[in-house]
Subunit: 288 residues, 6 copies
């Protein structure tokens, strides 16, 4: 309509609608195997909503999202209660973005979604390193009899890309079985401080990287709205600072997962996730 | 992306994006003069979100939204704290819809927005009748020194279209000054029961109608999330039933106003508003 | 400060601060024996806050609070966990209001407070009738070993003023022991519909009346924020309408009790209570 | 411990722990196919929690739960994201209760659970009538490609017991396909008012009855915390009154479903569900 | 009333009502240009409410509020939607306090209010230094076409008192335009750590200081209830510690802004603001 | 029921029901003298609910709760509004656990409960050291005229076991009178950092220890749901780390107090409390 301006609030701030050759955001509102409390289906939408509370300019990176070309393709339309179909849709969407020369940036949604995306990326990048920020190891072989669940997604990813190619940082919760698997000599398991991300960044500098961030990696005070918050984690500022160490890495795909808005009336979880997404776009987008 | 389905959840369910010759939804997230509690800026978005919890088929009207051609143009981009500019944008948007042969259906947003829309409609329809469902008279000449406010919007509308052409139904709260004005002999003031809407529908049957619904017309139990809920009103079922009496009326524009999501964590206000919007689309859309 | 206007939002709207010869509001934020869920200590404050969302004019009574002289004395300062001291403070405050020719209107706070107020009023008015609107009989002799509790307040009141002088209306929940006591032939127990209030009003027309309203008398949909909501009650409109039947009664003191804000984020309980208080002031205040 | 009393708050009030020959409550915290918003997994627990706000005595039935022998077996331990296994566990639990001469009373949990319970009951009672109170028809053949979902549970039940043996009361929302199926001549579809339950009760008086109650049958004002609230329904008091018409029916199993606590901070949904459960126990339990 | 004690909970704890020669608290419930989410109008009241959860004694300052003479004048009565009038009222109130030898301590309310207060203070103190703690630069020349907005308040203040006299500490969010302005050589822009406040305190020791604190300066985990929370900030303890470095400064006026209670059901934002206010009173009040 | 698995969610995860010779958890839902805001009665239940979000394995202790024998005896059944009776029940329960060779681990409930438990423990262990983690000194002689209150519990404990045997760590709020008492030379008052716990652990290594943890010892960001949150405290990770310094101590009884769920919709307070309880069980339980 001439002379009338409409808001673009259904997109991540400053994004173009659809997909293209740069970073392409899409939402995977999966919410099926969440074991403690559900609501991750509302995560992608909340992240976009809260992005509008942020500046497009990043003070610590000195870059402006307004000068970056990137896209928001919207949310996948997933059938409720369906796991295999959802993973397949995620795989297809990721592959389509890659095929068009794009860089997939998935918003979650439960962490299991990462499996679908990694499958698509691994097909293109056989030397893939998966960098994993999470409070939980997510390395269970089974969870209550299920192989496909948020609690075992990194076990499946490890089986696919090789245990030695998964770099878990920030883990502070695991079962004893998981520890046995995750902390084996051939694995790259760096529990505790997020400062280990700097070392990992060095190690994988020459390789294509899939970066997966479970928002529960920070303390529940900073991200109360996740499916399984784990007390005793780092501050949001530590996460944001750690991400800066990835500057110069070759991140070919990424995701920001497990935002569960119903348990966070103040919205600070989605807000932090939105800031993380903003930083990731700048890290991944080709230079201006 | 081929083989991948994306959700259309930023639109009112079953709507086409943009505008066209049928009903055209647009949001007016005005939230400036709310006197008791703010948050109406989040109303339009919430109504769309909750529309997806409803069926496209209406059991009591026997019609299906899937078979109606209508549009969702998105939300106007209004500057915070700005009244005149917002009213002008609303007037322009309404006029643009009308010019294209469309029927504007505005989602609010505070009730003051109605003034802008009525201005545009009245220019085209000089015999306009304004049908007004509300718990409050909204007939103040001034409110704390302000002429333009949600508390006086129907006074402004009355001044524009003529007091005798405003039909207020459901009012249960007013100042004594307002009563003096609203209940004057030449006015059409029907406080109390929503059943008066049937009589009004008869009276205005031959005329073009602007229908404005302040969601606080129902009891706060049914719509806790409004700017100024007023205890002692009718049930949601009474509102939905009353709307059926408008079948056959010539509604040339309508609005659904004052949804303030922050005070309604269960979302039932936006949900009821969404159902009202669904019914209005069916009432206003040309026959299949 | 000259030229600067300050809000009076800590008072019930339109009230004068302090006390005087008309209706005198005071808060009794008692919150000790609440058995299911606490929070009634925040009731009086919330009622005042929400009063500002209402008009001073009452459409169905045709009167304006602005033309009524009444006072707000503030909240009693009660020690946490202390019952006897609180009842004594309430008795003293009520007596002081009465001594000054005023009409006490207490805001609760848990229902047990009513005992203190009735004691003061009964001392002055030996022919007192107590009219009691409540979802619960509140007639327990003991509750978990305690004689003084919200669950037995009307038993204590009955013991004081005589069982035949307590008129309970609207009760829909009781223990079998209570029913035996409350529904005895000499008692005036009118469970179920609020329409019985009209009959009661007739019966007590010649007598001084203490009116006590437990806000849980309406359905939890209309008053979710009470200590012990009881499903299956009347609508807010039925309560407001029933109150009109008291026009002409000689209400010498009243209270509005059991508002528990923490369980009602939308505030509709306190809002309804505020409207009830507004109506009571008009019912009790001497004619203009 | 001698001299120390422990609360039994993890059970429905007045229940004995475990199972036995009378009514046996058990929870089915299924929460997988919820399409709009999740959280039904927390339903059974919330119903028990809120039961303690009620009296054991029912004023309108004149009976006391303290004099009824009934049991609470706890919640089934269901794997997250697993449908078939959950339905099987529900079938087994129901069958086990029946085998021991008990009457299963399931607390939900999403409505799909009803299929498992009906399967077990139908095996024992081939002349079973299923009485279904719900705002939605739940008669979809598929929902987003899924046969097993809350949106199609009554279609599956109809296929099992025969369409003519399912009596749906209170429906006010359906797709056009569902209406075609549900409202066919051989079906017993009574949309709208809950008063039709009286007629249904007459019709099925001689038969064993499975009674399934989706809590969204009442208006969202009375039950905001359900997976898919539908505006425009009856009051809680109408549901409670309608249930009285089942006095004398031969209810051999029942369920109370779709309580989703995260969207109802005031807890009135679970509270109403608890009162419904209390009434059902009295309706189903053998005379004292 | 003799023998009856009333609470003083509408005042900041330990304050005298009205105004006088010491610190004078007043609320400026402005809430018009809030761009992301509104609710700051409820800030001043919430700060007072939560003050009562604190001790009057400050362990780290070794002083007791009970021994400080200070006042609480209440909240300005601002018309909804009106900016100029509000700024004028704030200017007048601040000037009146100063004229009476008092020290204004304003509770917000949106940050734009600071402009009115600084205008009054600057008129008296031409050598004024404005110390500004904030997550955002608030240095926009225009915000969506508006010059007067929370997003540009410090730009207006800078224009008034001189850019070199504004000391911004703690900023972590800004637009690129703002950075250009705020970080110019003649400006005193200290983004990042709150520890820079110590240096600033040294620099301005000899000058009259206006101290403005936007509560969003701390991480959203510590202050979720603000209009525009910004992830990645310092802890509350860092803010409280930084304030100690102002001991001995000549603070002639101060404000604590942007508390937006609707988004913080736990109230920790208002609680922290109340503690900051308590510390400020001790910093500003003349020695005992 | 054969083939059907039931959840044990009413117990702390991995606990056996009842009591026995190891650690015995029991809840003391006291909620009477809470002065600022109530709700601690719901604390014990919430801690158990949230325990299920945690792993049984502790990564930083290298131990698994699955391999520890411990019990959950449920919640004491306390009469509302009754203090003396509650303290007596707590004393009896603690004594019963001790008599059976168990180690009491009480879940609160308001802090006053600690007095009852310490009385029982002190009777057995005359050389008892009480280690006290809290934001408040809790050393008031009277609080609004009451001797028995949460605000004075450690004063009563000090009077019982000797002031020199109470080691308060983490205090950041006190009245001036309390400071005079608590910080006297013979006392062991270590305000501020939780790192002092290491020194205390050294000092009391040879003695039987009662460990009482008021959850408000951490910053409100990490535990918003307590009766009296105090801004400016340490992070959850600092508390968890400090607890590790107690490894090897002879803790003969412990408690985790003041969890008030109504003010923490995200549940992170109860979640952190559950993790603290898990760590305490491992610290106190006899070696595997």
């Amino acid at each position: 309509m001439p002379g009338v301006q409409f808001a673009r609030s259904h997109l991540f701030m400053a994004a173009r609608e659809g997909k293209g050759p740069g970073v392409v955001i899409f939402g995977a509102p999966l919410d099926v195997t969440t074991s403690f409390r559900p609501g991750t289906r509302m995560g992608p939408r909340a992240i976009r909503d809260y992005s509008w509370a942020l500046e497009t300019y990043s003070l610590d990176m000195g870059r402006d999202l307004e000068k970056v070309v990137f896209y928001d393709a919207g949310d996948l339309d997933l059938a409720p209660g369906e796991i295999e179909g959802a993973l397949s849709a995620i795989r297809h969407a990721s592959a389509a973005v890659l095929a068009a020369g794009g860089i997939p940036l998935m918003l979650g949604g439960e962490h299991l979604s990462t499996l679908g995306a990694v499958e698509a990326v691994f097909e293109r990048h056989q030397s893939l390193a998966v960098v994993h920020l999470d409070a939980h190891a997510d390395m269970r072989l089974h969870y209550m009899g299920q192989k496909l669940s948020h609690a075992g997604v990194m076990r499946q990813v490890s089986a696919l890309v090789g245990r030695e190619n998964v770099f878990s940082v920030g883990v502070r919760s695991a079962s004893s079985d998981e520890i046995e698997y995750a902390a084996s000599p051939e694995a790259n398991f760096r529990p505790g401080s997020l400062r280990h991300l700097g070392d990992v960044a060095q190690e994988v500098r020459e390789r294509p990287v899939y970066l997966t961030i479970d928002m529960d990696v920070v303390d529940p005070a900073y991200a109360p709205g996740t499916g399984a918050p784990e007390p005793g984690g780092p501050a949001a500022s530590e996460l944001l600072e750690a991400l800066l160490s990835l500057e110069g890495s070759n991140i070919v795909a990424a995701d920001v997962m497990e935002v569960a808005p119903p348990y966070d009336p103040s919205g600070i979880t989605a807000l932090l996730a939105a800031k993380v997404v903003r930083q990731l776009i700048m890290l991944m987008a080709p230079g201006e």
